[in-house]
């Protein structure tokens, strides 16, 4: 059964060691004598070329096991014999000659043959290629093994068997109503032998199923036939290396093509076919075969050939492709017990598509709703932004007007302000010139000169403060919100207008309540309010005689947590005609007035959470009352 290894792939993997042990006893002892050298050499022979997944997977696992950490130092030589293309005995002789020369320098301890062609080849040519080496084989089916002419005693291996009958059982249980079975296989001699074996295996099913074998057809016709099957048919895909016309295939790809084209579910007894389109089969994995083979090789190398236990591969089972089950509408309930469902992780959608669809629908609905809400929100935000921009615009304008008003009122007070600057400058000049005189004397009066200099420093600071206050009032920026002492505002304002009050012969009193809770706000704006109220009172007092003009600024803490500031004058007071109009913008009683003072003050106080009222005084005159929330209360309210 040359070439049988290509199909003797999965299914039952049995360690035949109990049987083989007896054969090999002599060889083991003979080889043990030669195995003293440090490095052991293993020749790995593949029946195929490098393109066959089945042997590549097994070979890779063997290499991994041989290279493992517990292994002795082992060097492996690999040869892909491609024996399906080297059939003439003379050519095989040539190949053997070549390998003999290739490995002439190497003393090979063990040959691992993958597939029965390689096993046959090395069994025939071992004396030349690897004299004295033991042989381990894998991927060889039981019938192939039985047909081979192996020397007894030093050949060990794992016999693979594929089980078409078990695979047919799987198909029958998944498709209880099926009555047709189509078997697709290749036309190579070993494939025809395989087919013959399959016919035997399927004999028990012959009375229930109409079984058709397609091994005599070209591949196109095979595809054509499977594509026109009734749905309750079963396709069994076997090895297809070569079709009836001699065209070559990679069996797995051929099986994939058949499974894709077929109008009924396909099955295969080989692990490598599962995943490319067939529903499933009764298989082992090449991986586990490779691992078992590698361990067997290690045991033989270390001289345990006679004690190797019979190992059953645990991964031998019914295996199905969940995607294909779904494709054909096959129920998992019909699977034989212990069946392994592969590729199930990809079937979340397939299993739960209704739920997913429902969820998607709900999400889509929600998305639409969300989108609608978002659009609405965006519109509202735009409107909000526009409103905010407008408010900011208005705020900017308010600020500008307040600034202009400040500048104007300071302009009116420029004489007084100049006086406030002039006083320290006068003192500075006088002190400086006095110091000059003191120091210019024959006996300089240094102590007094030092005092003069000290005063100069103080006076200079005083002038600096005036300028700072002015700069604060004159600049037009957003200001800073901070904790503000209203008493300090009153004092600072009084300093600014003191000389104006003197010039206008106004008797001024400050009655400041201490301690006073701070308020939160813009100190420049609050000073503007006080300044405005004081200037208003000063203007009102012009109507009275010089000796009688009186102005009082009072502060007082109110419960709960408010600060009151009053500016009282004994001027003509508020006439009924003025009442209610005083806060109107551009209403003024003054010839040079802009009429914005009180309305600006009112606006400023509103932004500070406070209020401004104007009323007649008890003894005539007018009282302007400012109420501001103390900082703590505001903080709590925010």
């Amino acid at each position: 059964m040359a070439g049988g290894a290509f199909v003797a792939i999965v299914a039952r993997v049995a360690m035949r060691l109990p049987v083989l042990a007896a054969w090999v006893w002599i060889g083991v002892t003979a080889c043990a004598a030669k195995s003293d050298a440090d490095a052991r050499f293993v020749l790995l022979l593949y029946s195929s070329d490098q393109t066959l997944p089945a042997t590549n997977i097994v070979g890779a696992e063997v290499l991994r096991e041989l290279g493992g950490p517990t292994a002795p130092k082992i060097e492996v030589r690999s040869d892909f014999l491609d024996l399906s293309h080297v059939r003439e005995p003379a050519r095989r002789q040539d190949l053997a000659d070549f390998l003999t020369k290739k490995h002439a320098e190497t003393r090979i301890d063990l040959v691992v043959a993958l597939g029965s062609p390689a096993l046959d080849f090395i069994a025939t040519h071992r004396d030349r290629i690897a004299p004295g080496a033991k042989i381990v084989f894998g991927l060889v089916s039981e019938p192939d093994l039985a047909a081979s002419r192996l020397p007894k005693g030093d050949v060990f291996g794992i016999v693979s068997d594929f089980d078409v009958a078990k695979t047919m059982e799987l198909a029958a249980s998944l498709q209880p109503d099926a009555r047709n079975v189509v078997v697709a296989s290749g036309s190579l001699p070993f494939e025809r032998q395989l087919e013959a074996a399959v016919r035997e295996d399927l004999a028990p099913f012959a009375d229930r199923y109409a079984i058709t074998y397609l091994s005599d057809l070209p591949f196109e016709q095979v595809l054509d036939r499977v594509s026109r099957l009734p749905k309750d048919s079963i396709v069994l895909a076997l090895s297809l290396f070569e079709d009836a016309t001699g065209r070559r295939f990679v069996p797995r790809e051929a099986a994939a093509e058949i499974a894709r084209t077929a109008s009924a579910p396909s099955y295969a007894p080989f692990d490598s076919f599962i995943g490319v389109g067939v529903v499933g089969g009764y298989t082992d994995t090449f991986q586990s075969t490779g691992v078992a083979l590698g361990r067997l090789a290690l045991d033989i190398l270390s001289g345990k050939g006679d004690t190797v236990a019979d190992v059953r591969n645990p991964e031998h089972a019914f295996r199905v492709d969940a995607r294909q089950m779904e494709r054909w509408g096959l129920s998992e309930a019909n699977l034989p017990p212990g069946a392994i469902v592969l590729f199930a992780e990809k079937t979340v959608w397939e299993e739960h598509w209704q739920v997913i669809l429902a969820a998607v629908a709900v999400i889509a609905l929600q998305s639409v709703l969300l989108a609608a809400l978002l659009i609405q929100l965006a519109r509202r935000r735009r409107a909000e932004a526009a409103r905010k921009a407008a408010e900011e615009d208005a705020e900017t304008r308010r600020r500008e007007v307040a600034h202009i008003s400040r500048v104007l009122i300071l302009g009116e007070l420029s004489g007084a302000i100049a006086h406030e600057l002039n006083q320290p400058l006068t003192a500075i000049l006088a002190n400086a010139q006095a110091a000059q005189m003191m120091l210019a004397r024959d006996t300089p009066d240094i102590d007094e000169a030092l005092l003069a200099l000290e005063d100069i420093v103080e006076d200079d600071n005083r002038a600096g403060q005036v300028i700072q206050r002015l700069r604060g009032m004159l600049k037009n920026d957003k200001g800073r919100w901070e904790l503000v002492d209203v008493n300090e505002i009153v004092r600072s304002t009084h300093n600014l207008v003191r000389s104006e009050l003197v010039t206008r012969r106004i008797d001024t009193g400050l009655e400041l309540d201490t301690p006073l809770d701070p308020v939160r706000g813009d100190s420049v704006q609050l000073q503007q309010v006080v300044l405005n109220l004081v200037v208003n009172a000063m203007d009102a007092l012009a109507a009275r005689d010089a000796g009688e003009r009186r102005l009082v600024v009072r502060t007082r803490a109110l419960e709960p947590a408010r600060v009151e500031l009053t500016v009282t004058d004994n001027g003509p007071g508020i006439t009924a005609a003025l009442e209610g109009r005083m806060f109107q913008p551009f209403f003024t009683t003054k010839p040079q007035g802009l009429g914005l003072g009180l309305s600006i003050c009112s606006t400023i106080l509103t932004t500070h959470g406070g209020a401004l009222t104007l009323a007649g005084g008890e003894a005539g005159g007018a009282v302007a009352t400012v109420i501001l929330p103390a900082a703590e209360m505001r903080a709590a309210a925010e």
Partner: protein
């Protein structure tokens, strides 16, 4: 720099007051400083020679008010004004009221000291005149009523013969009166007598005018 001269400083600004006091002290003057005009007026001693340096704008009473108050009293104290803002109407008023000078703050020491020297010179002159007037008054009071009549007519430029005719006395008698007047008044010429009379009239305008001409 007069030894006895006192400068009266009035400014409501403590710093300015201290600095000016220091400056004038360094310049060698005796200085008395006041923060309030009312305080100054209450404590003002008109006797010592000197001048006043007043800030023009102060609470209670401004510089012009002080000036008026000073003028109303018996003694004219020369006044120098200091002002922050030199506004023209105020300065004109101050000068008309007899201010020696009107200086703008901040004031240069040379300027201030020059003004003070001018004020002190005026003060000295006034005091000298006042001193002369006082002498003339004493002499005048030593004259008999008849001698005062004769003196008035002499000063008015009458001749002895006219005086005799006016008073109904002899020329000889008038000559005796006239010689006594010249002796009592301590003058040797009619011109001196006229100046003395002018002094007396300047400070005591009521008396001569009561006689008419």
């Amino acid at each position: 720099m007069t030894d006895a001269a006192t400068i009266f400083l009035v400014d409501d600004d403590e710093a300015v007051l201290r600095a000016l006091r220091r400056l004038l002290g360094a310049a060698g003057y005796a200085v008395r400083s006041f923060r309030s005009p009312l305080e100054f007026l209450a404590e003002h001693d008109p006797d010592p020679p000197g001048c006043a340096v007043l800030d023009l704008s102060m609470p209670d009473l401004d510089g012009l008010g002080i000036q008026a108050a000073l003028s109303a009293g018996a003694v004219m104290r020369p006044v120098i004004f200091l002002t922050g803002a030199g506004d023209i109407p105020t300065s004109v008023r101050a000068m008309k009221a007899g201010a020696v000078d009107f200086l703008t703050k901040p004031v240069q020491s040379a300027e201030l000291l020059a003004a003070i020297e001018r004020a002190l010179a005026l003060d000295r002159e006034a005091r000298r005149v006042r001193h002369d007037v006082a002498g003339v008054r004493v002499r005048l009071e030593s004259l008999t009523p008849r001698e005062r009549e004769v003196m008035g007519l002499v000063v008015a430029g009458r001749l002895n013969k006219q005086i005799a005719h006016e008073l109904g006395a002899s020329i000889k008698t008038i000559k005796v009166h006239r010689a006594r007047v010249m002796a009592k008044m301590g003058v040797r010429t009619v011109a001196d007598l006229v100046r003395a009379a002018e002094l007396a009239i300047g400070t005591l305008p009521a008396e001569p005018s009561s006689h008419g001409t």
